[in-house]
């Protein structure tokens, strides 16, 4: 029950609480004081009544001494009757001598109430004695008639309490009405006071609610009657307090009053206390609170604006950083001391086909295979322990080919110099590796050509001698069988001479005779030469020759050799029935492009970068020397051009090769790029 009461009290409005509290206090104090005063005055009235009774009795006792000594019964009777009649609340008086004989009394109607002789017999006892009689409560006074030390008798006087009680009741009523009046007035004052206090507190509360809602343009403090610039009669327009009606100048920094001395709140408040502005405008604690509240609102507003601006800047920078991190193709990750990922770049996530959420907060054991994770763990721990960074290259096979990565792991130090994490960067260097390989291949080819040229040059002379002498012998020998053998020798020697000539052609670097060559013309001549022989195998040659192709600078015969090699290569790849598409056109950079595409069986990806090697062939033994493409490579290179192959051939290079000729295979296209003839003006 007390819990409910407390809860009920707690949920009351502050104003009600103040009013209730003060009312209770007033009622309590009023009742206490009223009761106390009432009790005191009641007691005083009773005491007064008793004193009066005592005075009456004592007076009577004094006056009765004479008649008592003289035994003047008439005077005794007169005296007590006189007093009895004079005071309405005196119920009886009687006089006794020392032996207890009643000498005189005021009871009329015969007889004497002998009960009275039984009580209050000793006048030395505290007087009076309260009696309960048929006529209500009575104070019985017993006063001795004493002369010197001699007791002559005593006077007994009965004083009715009803009159005193009536007076007490009246006084209590007056006390009650008075107390109620004062308490009521107090409650009205408490109501007014509570309203005055809570009005301002409510304004504070409403303002606080506004601030919670985000409205910082609140003003709780009452507008001032006189602002500081009015009181100081100053015209310092550049003072921060000048014109600011919302904030009090003693809360503002940098005010220009002489005794402010440029101090800030709260350092300046001590000097402000003596300032006339402060003395004039400073209010009570609630006003002070309201004004401080206004200052707080304005300060918060300024701070929030600053924070918002900073937040925007940070967000911009974050966005920029994120963009950089996400755009960079390198893998960047940051792990903490427990090797949990705190950051992972987009490239990293994409590469491992993960979302950022699947990486952040995880370790390698959650992302990679256990073996890989264990490997990384030990490596990373080593870095964290030693503080030495690590750089390495790794390679692994992926469905799209061999990949190479250059990895750098760096320990990250915090402000205290301790290691707080690990930064990893990894760059895909597969392309770089490929180019490196190509460079090595080129170097190899060059070395091979030089070697082959040297060998061919040395063999060429003995071979010429062998062929010369064989032909001389043939002229001299008539034996048919011997002659046939010599013919075999001659034939094989000629084959050797051709091989040697090809090797010399592949390795020749000396500039041969150069002239303007009509590219299309050279192509047509070669096509015309082989067209018939190819048609026998069902191979069709389609020509798309761009007539705008400019002439080029070169050796026509050697170029024709290249075209012948390429066409023969295509026909060999087709075997039976197919199409070879020959095309010439101007390239984007002014280069002249020639492509020879076939519908043959194509070249495997593995062999594609070996086809220009000397003696490399996929043909059956004895079908080719493996020098055709090598020689072509040498010739094109001599002309300052490039030659490359793609397999399967993109469809654009096989335009016009429609079925039924069919596309029996993926085919190969050889692309030759040659520089146009330099025009000298």
């Amino acid at each position: 029950m007390s819990k409910h009461l407390l809860k009920g009290l707690h949920s009351l409005q502050f104003r009600t609480k103040i009013t209730l509290g003060m009312a209770l206090m007033l009622i309590f104090s009023g009742l206490s004081i009223g009761l106390l005063l009432s009790a005191m005055s009641s007691r005083a009235l009773l005491d007064e009544g008793k004193k009066r009774g005592m005075a009456l009795s004592a007076g009577l006792a004094f006056r009765l001494a004479e008649p008592l000594l003289a035994m003047d019964f008439l005077q005794m009777k007169n005296l007590i009757d006189n007093t009895h009649h004079q005071y309405g609340d005196v119920l009886y008086i009687f006089l006794t001598d020392t032996s207890g004989n009643v000498l005189s009394h005021t009871f009329s109607g015969g007889g004497f109430p002998h009960d009275l002789l039984r009580v209050n017999r000793d006048s030395r006892r505290p007087q009076p004695l309260l009696l309960e009689t048929e006529r209500g409560a009575v104070y019985d006074f017993n006063v001795g008639i004493i002369l010197g030390e001699k007791n002559l008798g005593s006077v007994r006087l009965g004083l009715s309490r009803s009159k005193m009680d009536a007076q007490i009741r009246q006084q209590r009523l007056i006390s009650l009405v008075g107390t109620l009046g004062v308490v009521s007035l107090g409650i009205v004052l408490a109501l007014w006071f509570a309203r005055t206090v809570t009005l301002r507190l409510n304004r504070l509360r409403e303002s606080a609610e506004e601030i919670v809602k985000g409205n910082l343009n609140v003003q709780v403090g009452v507008p001032l009657e006189k602002n500081c610039w009015d009181i100081m009669e100053c015209a310092k327009l550049d003072c921060p307090a000048h014109g600011d009606t919302r904030r009090r100048c003693w809360y503002l920094a940098g005010t220009l009053c002489p005794h402010c001395r440029g101090k800030e709140y709260p350092l300046k408040i001590e000097s402000c206390r003596h300032c006339p502005v402060f003395r004039y405008n400073f209010g009570d604690e609630i006003q002070d609170l309201a004004e401080a509240f206004d200052v707080m609102a304005v300060t918060i507003k300024n701070h929030i604006e600053e924070l918002t601006e900073r937040e925007k800047t940070i967000a911009r920078q974050q966005e920029l950083l994120k963009t950089i991190m996400n755009v960079t193709p390198d893998f960047i990750t940051l792990q903490d001391k427990e090797l949990t990922y705190r950051f992972a770049s987009k490239a990293f996530c994409d590469y491992f086909n993960l979302n950022e959420d699947e990486v952040i907060g995880k370790t390698d054991f959650d992302i990679f295979s256990e073996r890989q994770a264990d490997l990384n763990f030990h490596e990373d721990k080593q870095i964290l322990l030693t503080g030495h960074s690590l750089a390495k290259e790794i390679t692994f096979k992926r469905p799209d080919g061999q990949r190479w990565f250059h990895i750098v792991k760096v320990p990250v130090a915090d402000q205290d110099g301790g290691i707080m994490g690990l930064l990893l960067t990894a760059r895909d260097i597969s392309m770089l590796k490929k180019i490196q390989e190509q460079l090595i291949q080129s170097q190899k080819m060059e070395d091979l050509g030089r070697l082959a040229g040297g060998v061919a040059h040395e063999i060429n002379t003995p071979l010429g001698i062998i062929l010369g002498y064989t032909q001389l012998l043939m002229d001299d020998i008539t034996d048919q069988e011997l002659l046939e053998n010599l013919q075999v020798v001659e034939k094989q020697a000629k084959i050797c001479r051709k091989i040697v000539a090809d090797l010399l052609g592949f390795s020749r670097h000396s500039q041969s005779v150069r002239e303007a060559v009509d590219l299309n013309g050279s192509l047509r001549e070669v096509v015309q030469l082989v067209e018939h022989a190819f048609s026998l195998k069902g191979i069709t040659i389609i020509q798309h020759l761009d007539e705008t192709v400019p002439p080029l600078d070169g050796n026509k015969e050697r170029l024709k050799q290249v075209w012948l090699n390429l066409l023969n290569n295509g026909a060999d790849a087709i075997g039976q029935d197919g199409v070879i598409v020959v095309r010439s056109r101007r390239g984007t950079g002014g280069q002249i492009e020639v492509s020879v595409a076939d519908t043959g069986q194509g070249v495997t990806q593995g062999n594609l970068n070996k086809i220009f090697d000397p003696f490399f062939t996929t043909k059956q033994v004895g079908k080719g020397t493996g020098l055709g493409l090598s020689v072509s490579f040498g010739i094109i290179k001599e002309h300052g051009g490039t030659i490359s192959a793609q397999s399967p051939a993109p469809v654009e290079y096989l335009a016009g090769a429609v079925p039924p000729f069919g596309l029996s295979g993926p085919g190969t296209v050889f692309l030759v790029e040659l520089p146009p003839r330099e025009v000298v003006y």
Partner: protein, 313 residues
Amino acid sequence: MIEPGRRMPQPVLILCAFLTAVLLVACGEGEKPVKVSLDKRREIAAKPPQPAITYAYLPQYSHTESFQRHQQLVEYLAEETGLSIRQVFPDTFAHHISMFGQGKIDISFSNPFVYVNLANRYGARAMARIVEEDGRAEFRGQIIARRDNEAIRSVEDCRGKSWVAVDPSSAGGYLFPLGLFVDHGLTLRDFQEVVFSGGRQENVILGVYAGLHDFGTIREGSLKVVEDKIDIGQIKVVATSRPYPGWVYAYSPRLSQEAADKIRAAMLKLDYAHDPRHRAILEAARFIGFVPSDDRDFDPIRELNRKVGLEGE
């Protein structure tokens, strides 16, 4: 409701204590009445006093004063003689005389005029005279006036003035001064008026003090009685009479000689100088002792009576 084991908050405790105290103070009259019936009545009668020797002091002062002066002496006499003695209080001198005549007074303590009267009329017999505080067994009368009354400087100046006296029977307060006036050739007709104050010396002094009368006559020593009531410096003594025998104890012829002797012996036994108890008794009675006396001591009084025309009373 206060939970068990949880202490009541101190302010609440103080409040409760205060309220209790206030209520106790407010409601605690604490008087228990005694039941008494005023309607249950019966007739009562006073028991008659035991027979005793009655002792009366001539009502020169109020009864209470007389009582206070003589109560101890009466008690002493009763104790000393083994007799039952009770003081009675006549209202006036005449009453005293008549009570003596009626036998209601056995021992009378009176001035010499009253004694002469009692002796002449009822056969009273003197047994002892008192010794005044000044050590004399005689006393005098005084004529007093207001100090600022320049008209009265001598006995003769009293002629034609208003005279207040104690009582026609008063020795010091009337007869002694009257004898003095007669000696100076003044008779009662020579005064504007002669007023009696009802036997009270105090009334004479107060009457003069108040200016109601030009002069008054009192017993010597009476001024001291009123010194706590008025400024007696305002009163001057104009003249003093010759000394006459003082107050006297006489006994009624009804009283046995034996009892009278016992009482006289007890009186004469009182020793003011050496016995503190006796001293207290005598101080209360305003004298310091007794001397034996007989009727002859009062012849000068009888002489004065004749002089002022009281002879034969």
